[in-house]
């Protein structure tokens, strides 16, 4: 197979675009896709201070890499979730990238700051691990961005991630979630930082190809808690469809953004106020993160036989 641009040996075939590229021209294509998404969706400019959520995986490190190479002011944020060897390796990959590229990396440490890991939060409160983990990450991305004066949080969610979430929301007609699914979530409260997904046009295998071609050393092993996750089942199903009909994932998600989301958008009007405990924006009196951490701490105290209530530690 030949590169469409230079006719050299192709390394990456893009069936949904009916094309293939060599390493250099794939990177050129990739950059263009990401920059087009950033500009068309008005995600941020070179004046913004961007906080990139970095997990040590291919998507987040690739995103950080593209933004840095393209002249954006992008600082990484790694969150230690306390998931054993997986967290240790993902931390090491994130730090190694930052050191090798002279990039600024902030670290938030959940076990250190809140006294327990996300798995312990989950066990203590009866949540599934992925739910406690997602809630903790969303909360800390916003909090660290706010405290650090960042104007936008960028995550590495790619086309496959978004298509899988969309499929799940459609299968269960989660209209509330459908209304909130978008590549740009504007700030709707003074303490809520804008969130963007610059890879929403990028397929998962394209992000992996970028990372490999750029020599980025990322964590390949999956989080042990993701085994059996419903989102992986949806991704497998979509990959079966994609293999038979290239462009299916793109058509599903981009079509939703263009034609489906306007139909459910009106429902996205929940008023936000300040959490009574931490000040974060929330629709209730106390935000979901405070409720989870406080309940977990209370149950741990009961288990340990401590009867008096002590305030939950906050960083």
């Amino acid at each position: 197979m030949r590169c469409q641009k230079c006719k050299g040996t192709a390394t990456v075939e893009l069936r949904r675009h009916h094309t293939a590229f060599c390493n250099a021209h794939f990177i050129e294509f990739f950059d263009r896709q990401v920059l087009r998404a950033i500009e068309r969706e008005r995600m941020f400019t070179r004046e913004d201070r961007i906080l990139v959520a970095v997990s040590g995986g291919k998507d987040s490190l690739a995103l950080w890499d593209v933004l840095r190479r393209s002249g954006y002011a992008a600082t990484g944020l790694y969150i230690n979730l306390g998931i054993g060897a997986y967290s240790r390796e993902s931390h090491q990959k994130s730090v190694a990238y930052a050191e090798a590229h002279g990039a600024e990396l902030l670290i938030a440490d959940i076990p250190e700051d809140y006294g327990m890991s996300v798995e312990e939060f989950a066990r203590a409160t009866g949540r599934v691990s992925c739910s406690a983990c997602g809630l903790s990450k969303r909360y800390l991305f916003n909090r660290v961005a706010l405290d650090g004066g960042f104007t936008v949080v960028a995550t590495g969610h790619n086309l496959d991630d978004e298509a899988a979430v969309l499929l799940g929301n459609l299968l269960h007609w989660q209209t509330e979630y459908l209304a909130r699914q978008a590549p740009v979530l504007e700030s709707t409260h003074p303490r809520l930082v804008k969130k963007v997904k610059p890879f929403f046009r990028i397929a998962e295998r394209e992000a992996a190809a970028y990372a490999i071609i750029q020599g980025i050393d990322y964590i390949v092993e999956e989080c042990p808690n993701s085994a059996g996750a419903r989102s992986l089942l949806y991704k497998d199903a979509l990959n079966l469809l994609e293999q038979a009909a290239p462009g299916t994932k793109q058509s599903l998600y981009w079509g939703f953004l263009e034609r489906g989301r306007p139909l459910v958008r009106a429902q996205d009007d929940a008023a936000l106020r300040d959490c009574l405990h931490c000040g974060a924006p929330t629709t209730g009196e106390v935000c979901a993160f405070c409720r989870m951490t406080e309940l977990a701490a209370e149950r741990m105290r009961i288990r340990r036989g401590v009867s008096h209530a002590e305030p939950v530690s906050t960083p």
Binding site: M1, T11, E13, C133, R205, V220, N225, S226, D236, N239
Partner: protein, 66 residues
Amino acid sequence: MKVVIRHQKREVEVAGRRRVRDVLVELGINPESVLVIRGAQLLTHDTQVGDEDMIELRPVVSGGGA
């Protein structure tokens, strides 16, 4: 050739010269879900590989999450 299937943490031997696409079909792996690497080089699915090669099938599907 030796095929390292990274996400299944196993290695298999596949005999004979053939295209990458045929190796994946033989192993029952959806080509959408992996990248194929020889040395440090990515391979397209029409690339011929033979007995002397060692290739890695690197999963691209990640997630879980909420």
